[in-house]
């Protein structure tokens, strides 16, 4: 099967790979480039576990053709931390107990990050709306909403690793 070269920016670094026609971004990120932080939950765009940012906007990687991100900037949870320093959202999720099994967490963080980039001081309703496409079967929504609000309130600086 013919392979197509695709190059894009992944978490600020140049990435290049060959993809099958029709390959989705989720499989290319995970198996092609080894970034395992986006998760497969449904493969049909209903659960949000595979949410990544493409040019800053949240996208469902399982429904995104890999070839369509050519030349664009892709961000994943794997690139959120600045070295050992966690992102404010990550820190707030830790402190607020906003993860149980953790499988939805990368997608939640991506949706939250997109929200805070466009709306630095969101209302509770805006937070709920932003993560409405992300399912959490452990049903830990309340701590997640609280953590996102807490991150929005926190000073925009590196908070350091808590562990």
């Amino acid at each position: 099967m013919a392979k197509t070269p695709v190059t894009f920016t992944l978490n600020g670094e140049e990435a290049a790979t060959f993809v099958d026609a029709g390959a989705n971004l989720l499989e290319v990120l995970r198996r092609g480039l080894g970034d395992l932080s986006p998760k497969y939950g449904c493969g049909q765009g209903t659960c949000g576990s595979c949410t990544v940012l493409v040019d800053g906007a949240p996208r469902l990687a399982c429904l995104t053709l890999a070839e369509t991100v050519e030349g664009q900037s892709v961000e994943t949870t794997g690139g959120m931390a600045d070295g050992p320093d966690l992102h404010a959202l990550q820190k707030a999720f830790i402190e607020g107990f906003a993860a149980q099994c953790g499988y939805c967490t990368p997608g939640m963080l991506m949706s939250a990050k997109a929200l805070l980039q466009s709306t630095p001081n969101p209302t509770r309703e805006q937070v709920i709306d932003a993560i409405s496409g992300n399912l959490c079967r452990c049903t830990g929504y309340e701590p997640i909403v609280e953590a996102i609000l807490a991150a929005a309130r926190s000073p925009r600086r590196s908070l350091g690793s808590p562990l």
Partner: protein
């Protein structure tokens, strides 16, 4: 974080107050991995040359498989292996066989017939998911569709399709002999005749899919030391290891299982079906193999919480005391046992709920239907049972015109009370939980209810004793047959009639033709107490006691389908009146006078006739029958059940 109210004032002697962690936020040990996307779920292990498994699945609830043609799939260049039932060294298994409980009743890959929609028949190992799916669609299966049954009571009816050839009566055989789990405590039948009200209802709970965010799956790969490594999302790593070793007939020392990071489980990841198939794929191809459900499979094939149907009948005095509770439960196992047999034991162990009731009887069945097999899910076996019991408590409260919380406090276990399982209740807290709930909801309670305590009033007199419990035939605790062929006081004619006949007289044939009726089970019908064709027998064959005085005939509450008319069973006593007119505190002369002085004074119904002490002709008849060839009927009272404790 909000302060958590642990009511240490109530439980000061139960807990070490130095547990400083309680009520304090504590970092999860795995949370750093979760927020950085580095937690190692099973699918987060990369292998070069990974192969994928997709399964050919049954489109029918129930069908005989006449022929399977895999030739087109096998010819596909991307397909490395087509796995059939014959390729699995030990195809039949049941999960709890690892602890010696139950018979192997479920094939890893269906062989000869399919018993639920989505049951796997053939597993395709291919270079890509797409190629595996294409090969699945190229497999031709010739099905002969069979009648199916999806309802638990219909499954127990005569002539119902045989769902599972290992259990041709459509019910799990406890101890390879009993078709249900039975609980007997006191004499429900006598107590029901003395109750002011009979409150009866049926409750049905649906199956519920656990629906974890991470679908079930496993990846197997060859290691360099002749072992197979298996990364799995299982919640039950050692079940999976044991099942894989058993089904692949290989020593577990050759298996290197790695789990522990589960993307949500909730009980749905204990069935150990992915690991054997993935490891088998690796054994047959020598390559890494992943078997992962997609979301549609997770929802359709993934074993849910089993549906349960509960029939509850309470005998209640006008002041709210519950003096008898009889239950019949039907646990829908789906087509195969998995953990449902255990769930039935759990629910039986939970009865009659957290209430001190002097007369309790239950029959709970683990029933096979052509539904997706059910398995563990968060309190399975308890949740639906509690749903039924607590709905029923509200119904009882409504019937007697009593506050539902106060009704619970009145009947709640207190420390020292004897439970139906013949163990003393301890560390009881239902009363306190009710009081706190009422307080937080600003729900007014009477001074008596507010003053009640689990620490007082329990374990006194009859509350601490094991009551005389009737036993039925062959030493099995069970129902004392007052009139032999009357309607079943516990479950209604439905249950008994259906279970009675079972498949014994039916023309039902197994789909595979190799599951004859268990003759031994038939011979034991009488011994089973309920599984009996009593109605077909001559009346004089039936051991009986002197029948109780018939309850007075009174009109039933119109419009209520919940109070079932019975020819000679208990009916609503004369003291009954609708909720809008609270029942008068009078009872029939045969019942003890109600007491208003609290639970200490809860009256027991008078002792039923002693079955072993009488010498009526009927007793003699029964004793004579004891010596008959079948020698099954020995109505007596077990010394143990009279009150001795182990």
């Amino acid at each position: 974080m909000n302060r958590v109210d642990y009511r240490k004032d109530l439980f000061a002697d139960e807990r070490d107050d130095s547990l400083a962690e309680i009520g304090q936020p504590t970092l999860r040990q795995d949370i750093l991995g979760h927020v950085t996307g580095r937690s190692p779920y099973y699918d987060d292990h990369l292998f070069d040359g990974l192969l994928h498994i997709r399964c050919v699945r049954s489109p029918h609830h129930h069908a005989r498989v006449r022929a399977v043609d895999c030739s087109a799939a096998e010819a596909m260049p991307e397909v490395l292996k087509v796995i059939r039932a014959a390729d699995v060294p030990v195809n039949m298994n049941t999960l709890l066989s690892l602890i010696g409980f139950g018979k192997d009743d479920e094939p890893l890959l269906a062989d000869g017939k399919v018993a639920y929609i989505g049951q796997p028949l053939v597993a395709i190992v291919a270079r890509s998911l797409r190629a595996a799916q294409a090969a699945v669609e190229a497999v031709r299966v010739d099905y002969e569709v069979l009648p199916h049954v999806l309802d638990v009571e219909e499954a127990l009816a005569p002539g119902a399709p045989i769902v599972n050839d290992v259990y041709p009566n459509n019910s799990f055989d406890y101890h390879e002999r009993y078709d249900h789990q039975k609980l007997r405590f006191g004499d429900v039948e006598a107590a029901l005749t003395q109750a002011d009200h009979i409150v009866e209802s049926t409750y049905q709970m649906s199956p519920i899919e656990q629906a974890p965010m991470e679908t079930c799956g496993a990846i197997a790969a060859p290691e360099t030391n002749d072992r197979i490594v298996c990364y799995t999302g299982t919640q039950a790593l050692f079940f999976s290891l044991g099942v894989t070793a058993k089904q692949l007939d290989m020593p577990s020392s050759r298996l290197h299982f790695i789990g522990g990071t589960v993307g949500g489980g909730f009980g749905g990841k204990v069935d150990s079906h992915h690991e054997p198939l993935a490891v088998l794929g690796t054994l047959l191809t020598g390559r890494p193999v992943k078997y992962q459900w997609d979301r549609a499979e997770e929802m359709q094939v993934g074993a849910p919480r089993g549906g349960e149907r509960w029939k509850v009948r309470d005998g209640v005095m006008a002041d709210g005391r519950i003096i008898a509770r009889a239950l019949t439960g039907f646990f829908d196992a789906g087509a195969y046992t998995r953990l449902s047999s255990y769930a039935v034991q759990k629910s039986t162990g939970h009865l009659p709920g957290p209430y001190t009731i002097p007369n309790v009887a239950s029959n709970v069945f683990c029933v096979y239907t052509n539904r997706t097999p059910s398995t563990a899910m968060r309190g399975f076996g308890i949740t639906a049972c509690d749903f039924a019991i607590e709905c029923h408590m509200d119904k009882v409260a409504e019937t007697v015109g009593m506050d539902p919380i106060e009704l619970r406090i009145l009947n709640a276990y207190r420390d020292g009370d004897m439970k139906a399982h013949r163990r003393s209740a301890k560390n009881c807290a239902l009363i306190e939980a009710c009081q706190v709930a009422a307080e937080k909801a600003s729900w007014p309670l009477s001074p008596e209810a507010s003053a009640a305590s689990s620490l007082s009033g329990g374990g006194i007199g009859w509350r601490s004793e094991i009551p005389e419990t009737s036993i039925d035939t062959a030493g099995q605790i069970g129902r004392r047959r007052q009139d032999g062929h009357g309607t079943d006081p516990y479950a209604g004619a439905d249950t008994r009639g259906r279970v009675a006949a079972g498949h014994v007289d039916a023309e039902a044939k197994s789909a595979l033709g190799n599951a004859p009726q268990d003759r031994e089970m038939e011979a034991d019908l009488e011994r089973l107490g309920f599984k009996t064709g009593l109605d077909d027998r001559r009346a004089d064959e039936i051991p009986v006691q002197a029948p109780p005085p018939p309850p007075p005939a009174i009109p039933r509450q119109s419009g209520s389908a919940l109070f079932v008319a019975r020819g000679n069973g208990p009916s609503l006593p004369s003291g009954f009146s609708p909720r809008s007119q609270p029942a008068p505190a009078t009872v029939r002369p045969s019942a003890p006078p109600p007491s208003a002085s609290g639970p200490d004074a809860l009256a027991r119904p008078p002792s039923p006739p002693q079955p072993s002490s009488g010498s009526s002709p009927l007793e003699t008849k029964a004793q004579e029958e004891d010596a008959a060839p079948n020698a099954l009927r020995r109505p007596t009272v077990s010394p143990f059940l009279r009150g001795r404790r182990r």
